[in-house]
């Protein structure tokens, strides 16, 4: 198992998609921070109520002081309709998970005893490590951005710990669902399409439709993982201002993300033993 994992980690570190993903996230972080620095509209959104009387320039100066790590993290993880980091990670995972099927390299591996189980476990651990790397780089970039704003960096782990931890479980659930698609359909297209659909929350539309028909005693969209994950908020952020009602907490999202993760794993496990390799 450790040997298989070593192979996957080497593969992961040599996958261009990982670095492209990180660069794209940094690129948008750059754009967003410049916009936050210059655009008054954003400033008026994040300033506490009652400060509207300030002249626009003063408003901007005050607003810049409020921009901290939370502000950037929350924007990129959880602005509703804008889940850049989940999408980049899902796309990387799609490429990574389907690479062996796409090239046919996988066929060299079937003679390794218990290869299917090793494939499943090792790929999941590797993706977890890749996500951690991705998160760490992004967090570091947020810290640097805050310093460039001239603000004192304050990281409140009791806020961002549960926040990032939960988002990580959401990513793991996405990975497992993409892996399920790869296991059953065995193509890169299936992997990429499922990654895009899930990370853009297309399933949200389906939930909306079911809610409209209204034969369920509750609103399905209130239990959509991506939906809720995007409504988790950190203090002093756009999301915390834009979302109405009670903020979504980790305890609401975790059962969903862990549930989806477990369900996907069970189906992958069942499929691995039955599905013929198509290559």
């Amino acid at each position: 198992m450790m040997q298989y994992l070593k192979m996957d980690i080497r593969r992961m570190l040599r996958t261009r998609g990982l670095y492209i993903g990180i660069l794209v996230s940094l690129f948008f972080l750059g754009i967003f921070s410049v916009a936050s620095y210059l655009v008054t509209g954003i400033a008026s959104e994040i300033m506490p109520a009652g400060s509207g009387a300030l002249p626009p320039t003063e408003l901007l100066v005050q607003a810049r002081k409020m921009m901290n790590v939370n502000y950037f993290l929350s924007f990129f993880f959880s602005m509703p309709g804008f889940r850049l980091l989940h999408m980049l990670l899902a796309l990387f995972a799609a490429g990574f998970l389907s690479k062996e099927h796409q090239t046919g390299y996988l066929k060299n591996m079937f003679s390794i005893p218990r290869m299917r189980e090793k494939w499943l476990v090792s790929k999941m651990i590797t993706l977890l490590l890749a996500s951690l790397l991705f998160y760490a780089v992004f967090l570091l970039a947020c810290v640097i951005t805050v310093m460039l704003f001239g603000n004192a960096v304050h990281i409140n782990w009791s806020d961002i710990g549960p926040f990032l931890g939960t988002q990580l479980t959401v990513d793991m659930a996405l990975f497992a669902l993409i892996m399920l698609a790869v296991t059953v359909i065995q193509s890169r297209t299936a992997a990429v399409v499922s990654a895009l659909m899930l990370s853009f929350n297309m399933q949200g539309l389906l939930y909306l439709l079911i809610d409209q028909i209204g034969f369920l005693p509750f609103k399905l969209r209130d239990y959509g993982m991506m939906n809720l994950a995007a409504q988790m908020s950190l203090p002093e952020t756009l999301t915390s201002i834009l979302t109405q009602g009670d903020p979504v907490t980790a305890s609401q999202v975790l059962p969903l993300s862990l549930g989806w993760f477990a369900v996907a794993l069970v189906f992958i496990w069942l499929a691995l033993r039955r599905v013929d390799y198509k290559g």
Partner: protein, 303 residues
């Protein structure tokens, strides 16, 4: 149960159609086993089953007499089934390293040795996608050799290759068989090529294994006729007819006679003609080619 690999009533069904039906094959250790059959006969299906790439509809696979469970092999197997599966953007060495790491066999000496075996040592940083078909094929064979397999499975490894490439692979396989002690199963429909080095054969048609035989059996069974050339061919024929009671004979041209029975008594026949004082310029036993033998069994060509 002294076979390294055997199968019992192994079947694979796709929808209503059996790609393989009740296949029983037996491969003793150390052999080079040629799997012969037309396109669509079920060769690839059989090899994929042995390599755990697909699951059987029914039947069993035995490795060293032990039943394989859940597709987990209990011997070291290496396989190249259908086209090579390579990382196109990686060098030959890098391609080998990934599998070697997964098997805990990533020693530089080992990888060098593999590259030498398949004659790819000098490809350096060249990417696999820039390789010729023969080079890709050889790299895929090296991948199958990473774990020093006890059983090497090769599905049409010489398909589409030029004669020199085919010869290289044949020599390489004989070496792998002798020096590394690997038992080899190789499928092909280029029978003349298989006949040059296989020690055992299995014929497969419409998903069923028709017959298994050894090289010796093939040589004994497929003597087809005795070819006699003589300027006195009419006298030769008459003498054999009355003196040896032979009747299945066929004249070819003015000087040639084919004797199509009692082929195993060829020495007696030769002596008989000599004793009669008949002049014979040529006398030899013709062997059917593997191809002709195959046609006789299956009633059609392999192509």
């Amino acid at each position: 149960m002294s076979d390294l690999l055997s199968t019992a009533k192994l079947s694979k069904r796709y929808g209503k159609k059996f790609a393989l039906r009740d296949a029983d094959i037996h491969i003793p250790k150390g052999e080079i086993y040629g799997l012969i059959g037309r396109n669509g006969a079920g060769k690839t299906t059989l090899l994929k089953l042995i390599n755990s790439q697909i699951t059987a509809t029914s039947g069993q696979i035995f490795l060293n007499g032990e039943k394989m469970r859940f597709g987990v092999p209990t011997i070291r197997i290496g396989a190249l089934v259908e086209s090579p599966g390579l990382y196109p953007d990686c060098s030959a060495r890098e391609n080998l390293i990934y599998k070697a790491i997964a098997l805990g066999r990533n020693k530089p000496g080992h990888i060098d040795q593999l590259l030498r075996t398949v004659e790819l040592s000098d490809t350096g940083k060249k990417k696999a996608k820039q390789f010729s078909l023969g080079m890709k094929q050889r790299l895929a064979i090296a991948l199958a050799l990473v774990d020093d397999p006890e059983l090497l499975i090769l599905d049409e490894p010489i398909n589409g290759m030029d004669p020199q490439g085919i010869k290289d692979i044949r020599e390489m396989l004989v070496k792998i068989n002798r020096e590394m002690g690997a038992t080899i199963v190789i499928s092909s429909h280029i029978l003349d090529e298989l006949a040059k080095f296989a020690t055992r054969y299995g014929i497969i048609k419409d998903g069923q294994v028709l017959r298994e035989f050894t090289r010796e059996q093939l040589e004994q069974e497929n003597r087809s006729d005795i070819r006699i050339e003589s300027p006195q061919i009419a006298q030769v024929e008459a003498a054999l007819r009355e003196g040896m009671a032979l009747s299945h004979m066929q004249r070819q041209g003015d000087h040639t006679l084919l004797v199509q029975e009692e082929v195993e008594r060829h020495e007696q026949i030769s002596r008989f003609l000599f004793d009669r004082g008949l002049y014979v310029s040529q006398f030899y036993v013709r062997h059917e080619s593997l191809e002709e033998y195959f046609m006789g069994l299956t009633g059609g060509t392999v192509q």
